[in-house]
């Protein structure tokens, strides 16, 4: 599956960017992704939603998305127009949620160390190649574990669940 190249400027943050700063609790009853996006990262960078342009990427240190299980955290980031997140590592629940809702995420410590805010970044989602166009450097994101890759290839969790339901329905008929 040749996914579209992600391209935009980097918004660089530190470690432990938690879900409370990604989308504060008071906004968690909002359902519309674009509306959520207006408050993305509000607790950390109140200027983010006015600065972000469609396609931009968030680049952060370790443990991105720690804290609550709120799925509105990756939804808000995506709703703000962000095309992907590059971090040294992700918190467990955020990692699953991002993949489940279709927010591309990449792990590369080297890329994170080299990227500054405002750098022009390109990412090939299918290969995990990260290019820092501002600095003329290229990096390789860690490959997804085989199971995760098969889930992504199958079209995500929804498609995977539908397949299993269809198998069960077929099994029940025979």
């Amino acid at each position: 599956m040749a996914a579209k190249t992600l391209s935009g400027r980097a918004h660089r943050y530190g470690k432990n960017v938690d879900t409370d700063v990604i989308i504060p609790g008071k906004y968690c009853s909002i359902v519309d992704p674009v509306e959520l996006g207006k408050h993305a990262l509000e607790g950390l960078d109140p200027e983010f939603s006015s600065n972000v342009k469609p396609g931009d990427l968030i680049v952060a240190e370790t443990n991105f998305g720690c804290g609550s299980s709120r799925e509105v955290a990756p939804i808000a980031i995506k709703g703000a127009g962000v095309s992907g997140v590059i971090a040294k590592s992700f918190a467990r629940i955020f990692y699953r949620n991002a993949l489940n809702i279709g927010l591309p995420i990449f792990e590369s410590a080297q890329a994170v160390d080299d990227i500054a805010s405002g750098d022009e970044i390109e990412v090939e989602p299918s290969s995990g190649t990260i290019r820092n166009k501002t600095r003329g450097k290229e990096y390789q994101a860690a490959a997804f574990p085989p199971f995760m890759q098969s889930l992504i290839d199958a079209g995500g969790l929804q498609a995977y669940v539908e397949q299993r339901l269809a198998q069960r329905a077929a099994g029940a008929k025979t």
Binding site: N16, D18, G43, N63, E71, I93, F147, Q158, L165
Partner: protein
């Protein structure tokens, strides 16, 4: 080679003789939980699933209204309506409306919905609380919850386990919360990411069920997938009082493999406190050298909203008044805790001391409503997270501590070592 407690439970639910860390399994779930925030998104995802009309088993789903309760605006009221309609449509009997439940993690054990050896997933990161009962329990997002609604199973990566061993008798005014804050401080905020924490040692054997709940609850604060205790006579008695459902008590093998073993000498611990703005920024209370005045004291949450916690607070506040410079907000964890607190005279003691007692819910803890902090305000809280903006303004500060430390601070108007108090004895 043997298996850890987590591996044993996962293997059984995957229909396998054994599992090893790193392995991906499909595991059957015994209970799926959601609150009105995670349920609303999960229900939408469920409705999008082709071939999913009915949930896998309506008796194995629990829906609890607890985050924005009572609803703070029409928008959150709508989420509650969605969940209520879904519960009716799918005949989910374990639906807990406002006034009938309380905080999900307080309610489920009370209702006998959690038992040793079970596998529980929930649309809330503190679902790990049920590890207190010897269950495997972990938090997930709404799409995963929708998948579990439909299939009755989840995919999981088997976590390696970290063995935490606690020995020694806690000193005066040192509680499970202090032990767990020390644990999070020791492991670090991502020190247990993708790992299980298995709690061992003579100290935890002596802990009450509530103490174990407090400790399992905060496993996620070190990034853990789950935190788990071995069920013992206390656990079995607690569960059997509430359900006649059969359950299987698992034990870790003596030759189980642990990624790390960490020992904590509890006898040497003083009360602990997490400074702003991370739950692993933990210090002994003696590190508080200067006056740190507070504006709000919060008592409650899925960490410390239990009757034992309220008893400690009431004992400290009995016959006293809270400092005039601050407010104290108390949220009993559930309707049952609320009723028990009424029966024991605790509510009267708290109100007489000047506390505001709210209806059970999560509101203040996650900055939803009913106790939101303003710019520049400082709060000492019995909750589990102190991230920037967690309880309201990103310009507020949150300190995490035990109910005793919070109550002592309420009297003094500043962060106070509860060991310095002179208690009124009956």
């Amino acid at each position: 080679m043997g298996m850890t407690l987590t591996e044993k439970i996962l293997a059984r639910h995957a229909g396998a003789d054994r599992v090893v860390p790193g392995e991906i399994i499909n595991a059957k779930v015994d209970l799926v939980l959601a609150n009105e925030l995670s349920a609303a998104v999960a229900i939408a995802a469920f409705r999008n699933l082709k071939g999913a009309e009915k949930v896998f088993d309506h008796s194995k789903i629990a829906l609890v209204e607890d985050h924005f309760v009572p609803a703070n605006n029409a928008q959150s009221a709508k989420l509650a309506q969605l969940m209520k309609e879904f519960a009716a449509e799918q005949q989910i009997e374990n639906f807990f409306d406002v006034g009938r439940g309380g905080i999900e993690h307080v309610v489920l054990p009370e209702e006998g919905l959690v038992a040793p050896g079970e596998l529980i997933v929930g649309g809330d990161s503190h679902t790990c609380t049920y590890g207190a009962f010897g269950a495997f329990a972990t938090g997930m997002g709404s799409t995963d919850v929708a998948a579990a609604f439909a299939l009755g199973e989840v995919w999981l990566k088997v976590p390696a386990s970290i063995k935490m061993v606690y020995d020694g008798k806690p000193g005066p005014m040192v509680y499970a919360k202090d032990i767990m804050l020390k644990t999070v401080g020791t492991l670090g905020i991502d020190g247990a990411t993708y790992r299980a924490i298995e709690y061992h040692g003579s100290t935890v054997d002596e802990l009450s069920i509530t103490g174990r709940i407090t400790m399992a609850n905060m496993a996620i604060e070190a990034g853990a997938k789950n935190g788990i205790f071995h069920a013992d006579e206390k656990t079995i008695a607690y569960v059997k009082e509430r359900t006649d459902r059969p359950f299987i008590v698992e034990r870790a093998d003596s030759d189980a493999q642990y990624e790390r073993v960490i020992e904590i000498d509890v006898a040497a611990l003083e009360p602990q406190i997490a400074f702003p703005h991370l739950p692993d920024n933990v210090h002994p209370i003696s590190d508080v050298k200067e006056d740190v005045p507070v504006d709000q004291v919060f008592i409650g949450s899925c960490t410390n909203g239990y009757i034992e916690d309220l008893r400690i607070v009431a004992q400290i506040l009995d016959g006293k008044r809270i400092a005039s410079s601050l407010r104290v907000i108390v949220n009993p964890g559930s309707q049952k805790v609320y009723m028990q607190a009424a029966d024991e005279g605790i509510l009267k003691t708290l109100v007489a001391a000047g506390c505001a007692v709210n209806t059970p819910g999560c509101g203040a803890c996650f900055g939803g409503h009913m106790g939101t902090l303003g710019d520049g305000e400082r709060c000492i809280s019995t909750t589990n997270r102190n991230y920037v903006g967690r309880m309201g303004s990103p310009k507020a500060e949150i300190y995490l501590a035990s109910p005793a430390t919070c109550a002592a601070s309420a009297i003094a108007g500043k962060i106070t070592d509860p060991r310095t108090l002179t208690l009124v004895t009956a």
